[in-house]
Subunit: 430 residues, 2 copies
Amino acid sequence: MIRQVNLLVKDMPHQWYNIIPDLPEPLPAPLDPSDGPSRIKNLPNLLIGECLKQEFSQESWIDIPDELLQIYAQAGRPRPLFRALGLEKKLDTPARLYYKGEFFSPTGSHKVNTALAQCYYAKKEGFEQVTTETGAGLWGTALSYASALNGLKCRVFWVRSVYNWKADRRHFMQFLGAEVHASPSPMTKCGKELYDKNPNHDGSLGIAISEGLEDAGRDPKTVYCLGSVLNHVLMHQTIIGLEAKKQFEVFDDYPDMVISCFGGGSNFGGFAIPFIGDVLTRAKKTKFIASQSKAGPNLQGEYRYDFADYAELTPMLKMYTLGHKTDMHPIYGDGLRYHGASPIISLLRNKGYIDTVAYPNDEKHVFKQAQLFTETEGWLPAPESAYSVACAIDEAIKCKEAGEKKVIAFNVSGHGFLDMYAYKTVLGLK
Amino acid sequence: MIRQVNLLVKDMPHQWYNIIPDLPEPLPAPLDPSDGPSRIKNLPNLLIGECLKQEFSQESWIDIPDELLQIYAQAGRPRPLFRALGLEKKLDTPARLYYKGEFFSPTGSHKVNTALAQCYYAKKEGFEQVTTETGAGLWGTALSYASALNGLKCRVFWVRSVYNWKADRRHFMQFLGAEVHASPSPMTKCGKELYDKNPNHDGSLGIAISEGLEDAGRDPKTVYCLGSVLNHVLMHQTIIGLEAKKQFEVFDDYPDMVISCFGGGSNFGGFAIPFIGDVLTRAKKTKFIASQSKAGPNLQGEYRYDFADYAELTPMLKMYTLGHKTDMHPIYGDGLRYHGASPIISLLRNKGYIDTVAYPNDEKHVFKQAQLFTETEGWLPAPESAYSVACAIDEAIKCKEAGEKKVIAFNVSGHGFLDMYAYKTVLGLK
């Protein structure tokens, strides 16, 4: 029985898949709010030119530049697809379980796939510094890494509630040469307002995005990078699912169900979108489940226009949202704690292609299932990826109860080596 | 320019290479000391039968069982060989640098290669528990993982000076279901003697080995596993170098110099031995450098018979040694802090095939070079692997000074995600 399929470097996909032209209806365009300056007209001052072009592209396939393909190889791509035989045996399920190993990443998560692309384009366009926000810290680490490789400076605004407990990840970013600030910080106008009221303010991804945008807006050599939600970010991530599809061919199998954890949508989108493409053409009938936390179940919110950030510096996006000023309960899987969902995934959810589950804030069940995965498969998932693992295990158990031989594919978007404290605390390790 | 070469799972080596029959002279046999019970006759009560057989095998090639090959694939093998183009550019060196990515391991180090083999055989032979020592914690984690996958219980005696600062790694072992004790512990006779005198005793690998051996000796269902030094351990690790040789063929290149860090010799041996084989047959003239710490420069000690453990429970091995009761200065790269060197590597060193360098105890230079590697190549080495990286960089700089286009291959035996505290402390990160 084959337990793992890899691809040779030369067989790595050479194009990203842009699902926009294949969507069941046109993607609603970003809008400006009724008052204040035009956020849309300001986008070229904030974002990388090539990324902005990709954001609105109607081409289904976009070439990955050769030099970037080489950098992907340097970052260890392609990454393996595993058959979870050990887990299947333990669960005694008739389901066939497969998982993608994005944990083979230099910084520990899938975020490098877009960080490398964004820094590659930023460097080409003459920028000297990138600036961004980060929630769980995975995106901030990935951008620190990609900027180091490209000789760019990097500034990270990091949600304070997470900054405080992830010292190792903070040191890793600094080791890579990045400048890291707890957010809200006194470095920006919008941050300072909240910081002055409460210097221990927990922060939120929405606030940190505002800080990054404001920081980029005041220096023409600095450009803002975003790690999720936007169309081009999800497109960069499709390399995950495109590789997985090639690997499923080698396994001679195809998923009935595709599962991943969901915060803003980048790892979910990157893994699922190439399979969703097959469903849109009616070639396949695969089901899709976004695994979320009750702390931020954005796909269970309202489908409407909302800002992507707290301070309303972004255009309004048509998306599932909990409201851009909503307070959310801190959890260890902090990457899942964001008020809004990617517009692409939101539209697909609205059309009935995507289901969502949300797990309780105490994270006990999720981390227990992650432990079962590690004991049987060996890999330690990131707290966020644990939601992907837990949902897949829960579905595999349903298959056992129903006697169904479903094929379940899930993405393990990152490793948890920098997050042991979360497992220790929730599971009570000594 | 190719930056990475991987192999398909089916092209993974199917045999380990046993260098013993090819050595320039017969490997000196283990000896009993002049007094006390026979340690040699006691070996079958302590070690796994198949491993003991392999320890003395005169076959050059030993089949890796099919089931174990599948488990290697589950553990992500084969692992890539990278060309360090980013680092070369930064150093402006004419040397060509290549590194093997053993950091793609479920527990973060090469130790899984033998842990999986030992637990596979232990399970087949009916044992219910494995017991061991660990220094840096890499071996203890690997055995915790391999025992979990094989449904075995696992007990780990961990050198206290390291146990105390590596909380995350301790929690990872516990997450995997292992029982972990700081050594010297009150659990064993030899441990208790030292513990009673000083419950904060720093410990040493030699003491921890004694504890593991004593623990195994008192329960017929428990078997002792060792993570380095012994012939069969190095043989299991040759899969590293055997893969690398296949990958060098794809690169159409071959190393003039092979470098790795050196504690007991398992990652160094595993990486270098297949290349040393080519030198012994005079097919190649490659140089070999073991990168060590001044805290435990065992290859610069005396070549003589010595015990492998503190309490003299093992047979005496002919090896380079600093003396089995020697106190050694604690360092963050604790895996390099052991008094004795693998008998195979010792013989080869004695015959002039292997050079050694030893870096200062403050580890500043070593960790600075590791940082340069991470900034240019993206991968975070374990503190031990940082010695391999530093030595390779130092040699590449010499090549620049001499204008020599040498091909330098080094093994990055593990990642440092669980060891950020070491980098933070030595480099003064905030």
